[in-house]
Structures are given as C-alpha cells and as structure tokens.
C-alpha cells in the first residue's frame, strides 16, 4: 500500500493529532512527567546522592518545613524586591526609550541596535564583567558615579545595602531593551488617524499620550512585563556570577537557594516541595496577571 493511500482515509482530527502528537509527546516527557515526579518526590525524604537508600513517604512534612523556615521567607523577600524594582525600572525606562525611538531622527537605527546589544549577551558573561565594572578600586561604575557626585569608595557587591541594587541595575541594563522593543512594536501599531483626529479636537500632547498612546501600548507593556516577571522569578546565572547570592544571603534569590538545596545539599524531597511551592506561586500569579491583562485589552 502506498503512503498516499495509507493516509488518504485519515480524518481531520487524526491529521491534527499527527501534527501535534510529537509536541504533546515532548511536552509530556520533558515537562509534565518531571513535574509529576517532583510532586511525588516532594512527599518523601529522598536524597538523590544517597545511593541505595529507599525514599520514605513523609506526607506534608517537607511543605510544612519549607513554609515554616524563616530563611525561605527571606529569600522570597529578596526575590520579590528584585522583581518589583527590575519590572518597575524596565517598564518606565523601556517605555521612555520606545517613545524616543518612535520618533524619526538621524541615527535612529544605529541607536536602536546599540540599545538592544546587552540583551544579546549571555547572562553569565554579563555577571562576570559587571563584577569588574563594580570593582571599587578599578571599576568603571565607581568612577562614573563619583564623576557626578563624590561618594568616595563604595563596594556595590560587598555591601548588604548596595548588593541588591547591584543586581537590579545589571538586570535593568540588560533587559530594558526587551521591554523597549515590545513597546516600540505597540507604538508602531497605533494608527496615525487617531492622532490626527486628536489634533483636530485640539488635544494637547499630554492628553494624546494619556488617552491614545498609553492605552494602545499598555497591553504590549504588560506582556513584556509578564515575560520579564517569569524570567526574573527564576533568575539564576547572572546573579550567581555577580554576587554568588552574597554578601551573606543578601542577594540569594529563591531559585539560587533551590539549586543549592537540590543539587549541592541533595535534599531532593525537600527541594521538590520548595519547587512545587514556587511553581504554584508563579502559576497563580501568572494566571491572575493574564486575566487582568485580558480585561485591559477588552476595554
């Protein structure tokens, strides 16, 4: 029987399954199965490095332990601070840059290319070279700051007050271009006739921005922030290279702590519970956020 004949009698549904089958299989194998496995592990006292030791069922003990651990809440607070400031700064600066680049001027393309360069770099590389930039003795960062105001020598990475800001600055530097690009796409999709009509109605530039530009670009901005929020919730490489989570645990984000518990301390059961809690948190927030975003779009 020829291949043509063999597939001739397939229904639309069967063809659809044929196309999505490999994706569904991969999704199940790479995402769903590990998730179910992790959920199962989270109810045991399993240690992946203790060969030959059978995991025992411990009920909700790991979850209770995670939720009652003060250090975990400290890490969650560090993560929340990091997310709040990075998202805020990236939204404001990204939108500002998009508004700037939406105007036609000489060198627009070159400036856009230069601005998007940081997000093309590897986060680990960014982390390493910012450690040099932040060096209080030879780093450019101190020099630039002191050029504008003489703060004297200060250590961005070694000080518990400044270290959280050091990671916020680097993430903002690296990922603001992403927010900017998405906002720029939004700005370019606003039809010109809206502004022409506003001009006819003698609306000021500020009113045009508030009543036309901002509502049009807001769904795009929210989408960019959703992506950045998810990424920053699981931020790992850049921060590890930059501060190793220090000083002390001043910049130890939840994901860094999770990695340490899972693959350095090998507390597989405990870290699975922690991972499930983080997953539920981000999944819950993500869902609420998408619903809010859809409502804004509908308006």
């Amino acid at each position: 029987m020829s291949v043509k004949k063999k597939f001739k009698g397939l229904s639309d549904k069967a063809v659809a399954w044929l196309f999505i089958g490999p994706s569904v299989f991969l999704l199940l194998a790479i995402n769903i199965y590990p998730l179910i496995y992790a959920i199962r592990m989270s109810f045991t006292n399993f240690y992946a490095n203790k060969i030959g030791r059978e995991p025992q069922f411990v009920g909700l003990k790991n979850y209770i332990k995670v939720l009652n651990k003060e250090a975990i809440w400290e890490k969650m607070q560090v993560t929340a601070n990091f997310m709040f400031w990075t998202l805020l700064l990236q939204a404001v600066i990204g939108l500002g840059l998009a508004l700037l680049l939406n105007r036609k001027f000489k060198g627009n393309e070159l400036l856009t290319t230069l601005i998007v360069l940081p997000m093309m770099l590897s986060p680990a590389v960014v982390g390493v070279f910012w450690t040099y930039l932040y060096n209080p003795q030879v780093g450019l960062f101190n020099y630039v700051v002191n050029f504008f105001y003489d703060f004297g020598s200060f250590d961005m990475i070694g000080s518990s007050e400044l270290a959280p800001w050091s990671i916020v600055i680097v993430d903002t530097w690296m990922w603001t271009p992403f927010t900017m690009l998405i906002c720029l796409a939004g700005l370019r999709s606003v039809p010109n006739y809206l502004y022409e009509a506003a001009e006819v109605d003698r609306a000021s530039k500020w009113q045009q921005f508030i009543y036309i530009t901002l509502p049009s670009v807001l769904p795009f901005l929210l989408l960019a922030l959703l992506f950045r929020g998810i990424e920053n919730f699981k931020m790992f490489d850049m921060v590890v290279e930059l501060t190793s989570g220090g000083p002390g645990s001043a910049t130890e984000l939840a994901s860094i702590n999770l990695k340490r518990e899972a693959f350095e301390k090998w507390k597989t059961g405990y870290s699975s519970a922690f991972a499930v809690i983080l997953f539920v948190t981000i999944f819950g927030f993500g869902n609420v956020y998408v619903k809010v975003m859809n409502k804004i779009k509908e308006r």
Partner: protein, 434 residues
C-alpha cells in the same frame, strides 16, 4: 576520487588505532600543581605506553562537577584527585575503589607516607586502615608576605616605635592584625596598599577555609571528643566565637576594597599586583609566587600563626580510582607508578607537594625551597573540616552564616555559629548519625 578514498581509509585507520590505544582520564582542579602533574605524567606514558588524558575543572566548579559525576556513576574519569573532605562520600557511597588489597599486592605501604596525610586523604572511617586513596598532594592554608616592604628600615622603625616589637613574621594572630593595620591605607612607592587578602568567597568553600584557620588557632573543636556529633559548647565555644569576631575585624580593617567574595585566585591577584602586604592561600600556590623571586627578596612565607594553639587548615588531596571506570587496571598501574619514591621526588621538584616520607625526611628538604620548612611545620598541625559523606551539606550553611556575619555584618558571631550547629544537627539527623 582515488586520493579521497585513500585519505578516508587512512583517517579511519588512524581513528581506530587511537581508539584502541591504552589511555586513562584523570580529573583534578585547574591550578598550578595540575600542570606540574601533567608534566610529570609524560614519564609514565613513556614508561608504560598508557596515555593519560587530563580534565582540569576550575575550583569554583570543581566539587559540583566531580561530585555530580560520581553521583551519576559516570565513567568520564578513571582516576580522580578529589578533595580531602570527599573521602567519606567516596567510601560510603562506593565511588572509590578500596585500595588495601592492591597496596598489599604491590608492596605499597602507607607507613611510607606522612601520617597526617594518610589520615586526612586516604582513610575512612577516619584513622582506620581502610584506604581509598593514595596521598597525592599535601597542602595547608598558609601566608605569604611582602618581605621587601618588611625589610625597609623606615617601616621597621616606625612599626617598632608603634607596637614595641619587630616587624617580621607574626607570632600570633594579634601580631598579624597589628601588621595588617600598619599597612592598611599606607602609601608605598606612590601607591595605596592594604593589609591582607583573606578568604571571603561565598559560593564554594572559601570563607569557611579562611575562618577555620582562625578558629583552629583559637582552639575550636567541632565536637565533643567523647561524644561524637555533640557540637554545643565546642563549635560555638567562647574561643570559637572570639576567633570568628577576630576574622570579621581582620576583614573590616585590613582587606582591600572589593575583597568581599575572594578566594585563591583573587588573593593571589591582590598580592601579585602589590595591593596587600599579606595573602592567605594554599601552599600549592607558593611555587608560582616564588618563581619570579628566586632569591626570596620580595616574598616570605609562614605557617598559620598560633593564637591559643598551633593549628592550620588542611588542604590537599589523595588520588583515587573511580569505581565506575572500565579501566581500573590501568588506573591502578598509574597509582603504582606514582607511589614510587623517585617519582615522588620528581613530583616535589616540579612543584607538587609530595607526602612521601623519603622526600619529606630528606635532610635537604627544609632548605630546598623558601616555603619547604613552613610546609613541614604546617603538616604537623593540620586540622580538617568534617570529612563526612554529607560534607557539602555541612559546608553550605557554614559558608552562608559566616559570610553573612563577616562580610555582610549581620548578627553576631555566636548567632552565626549557633545557626550552623542547628543546620548541622538537621544534616546529621537525616544521615542517621543523631
């Protein structure tokens, strides 16, 4: 076409010949001694025809990379020069081949090696006669200082006037502090200098190795000698608390700016670039430091200073055969060769730290290099971190709590040590030791 076919056949033949050649792979950290070992091993290949491939992993990733490999029963390495603290996990989880029968068969006696190194690098349970490694690289945490600055008459007299004793090798941590503060912020030859580059690294083991150098010197014990794993009152004794407080004072008053996450290479860099008067580091780095200073005019070296007791943090490694290797016979052949006294002498000559008694007890050894006597002194007083199979789980809370106190300035020394004990109790309970 004919030429292409010939080329193809030759390539295939070469590939097949190479894949059949006898070869083993040795894993270690990427540092100066590894290069010396690579050089030394050329003689092994010449003698036996066995090629040795090397995979050297940078220190910050060394433990992660190697322990993951062992936990996954990987076959990448036939031989592994693993850290002293891994011996417990290597033995208990069956990662390393037990070498007793092999040693007996080949006439290799552990009595031929320095007792401190056999105890630290080879045995599990500690002090037993179960050997899982051959002592390969003796090491301890020590200090280097800028002898050329110390020899300046104007600095010497100023120091003596201020402190009432001579500027020289510090006899205690108190003296070390005096000297560090003396140099802190001082301008020498038109450049601002600082006191000491000490371990403050957060990610792997750096700050723990550094702070324990002080804690051991203050007389800290990990546990009650009569009741294993009973740490209360020992690890957080008043002496231990004082030592941790002192280490923070040393960091705050004597470290160069930005030295908040520094370990081996960062300390070396700070010293070599002329920023600091002292650096804390492993003996393994001294051959490199003294290489460009053959007359010993610039740098001097000394063992960890005494405070209440003479003690030093142990470094170093033993060489083990990986249980999952398919080439254990070839790997054992390497160990047999490496244990030979003549090879051990060459090892020392090339910059490796032999643990063989024939080398260490040779009359010429103490004067063979400027740091040889210090090495002998240190190896007699070494103390190590827990060598339990769970040592990583024990190391991480200490890294975090000590970094939080020393660098971050958070809480108290007693609070940090109490927190570490709390976490350690949890680890020992999970491991069934408590």
């Amino acid at each position: 076409m004919k030429k292409i076919m010939i080329l193809l056949f030759v390539s295939l033949f070469t590939f097949s010949a190479n894949s059949n050649a006898k070869s083993i792979t040795l894993g270690w950290a990427a540092w100066d001694p590894a290069n010396a070992l690579q050089e030394l091993t050329k003689e092994f290949t010449a003698e036996t025809g066995i090629d040795v491939n090397f995979e050297f992993v940078p220190w910050p990733n060394f433990a992660d990379r190697m322990l993951n490999e062992l936990n996954n029963k990987g076959k990448t390495f036939d031989l592994l020069i693993g850290d002293s603290q891994w011996i417990g996990a290597g033995a208990v989880y069956g990662h390393y081949v037990k070498l007793n029968d092999f040693f007996d068969k080949e006439g290799i006696s552990m009595n031929d090696f320095s007792p401190a190194t056999v105890y630290a690098y080879s045995t599990w349970p500690k002090g037993s006669e179960n050997y899982y490694a051959l002592p390969a690289m003796g090491d301890a945490l020590a200090w280097a200082y800028r002898k050329d600055w110390f020899d300046r008459p104007e600095l010497k007299s100023e120091f003596k006037k201020k402190h009432g004793y001579d500027l020289g090798v510090p006899a205690s941590w108190d003296q070390l502090y005096d000297m560090c503060t003396f140099f802190q912020g001082r301008e020498i030859d038109g450049q601002k200098r600082y006191g000491a580059a000490i371990n403050t690294e957060r990610g792997s083991e750096g700050i723990t190795m550094g702070v324990t150098a002080a804690m051991y010197a203050w007389g800290m014990e990990y546990e009650n000698p009569n009741k294993p794993y009973d740490m209360e009152g020992y690890f957080n004794s008043p002496q231990a608390v004082e030592a941790v407080e002192f280490y923070r004072k040393l960091y705050e008053d004597c470290a160069p700016p930005g030295h908040s996450d520094a370990y081996m290479v960062a300390n070396l860099d700070a010293y070599k670039s002329g920023q600091v008067a002292f650096q804390m580091n492993w003996y393994a780095f001294w051959p490199g430091v003294s290489k460009e200073d053959s007359d010993g005019r610039v740098s001097g070296f000394f063992a960890n200073p005494k405070q209440n007791v003479a003690a030093a943090t142990l470094g170093g490694q033993g060489i083990s055969v990986v249980k999952y290797s398919d080439k254990q016979d070839l790997a054992l052949e390497y160990i047999k060769w490496f244990a030979r006294p003549d090879v051990q002498q060459k090892w020392w000559d090339l910059g490796g730290y032999s643990c063989h008694n024939d080398v260490l007890n040779s009359p010429s050894f103490p004067t063979s290099t400027v740091y040889a006597q210090g090495f002998l002194d240190s190896m007699g007083i070494v103390k190590d971190f827990w060598q339990e199979p769970t040592f990583v789980e024990l190391m991480l809370p200490m890294q975090e709590a000590i970094h939080d106190y020393v660098v971050n300035g958070k809480g108290t020394a007693k609070g940090a040590l109490d927190k570490i004990i709390e976490e350690w109790v949890e680890v020992f309970e999970a491991d069934g030791k408590l």
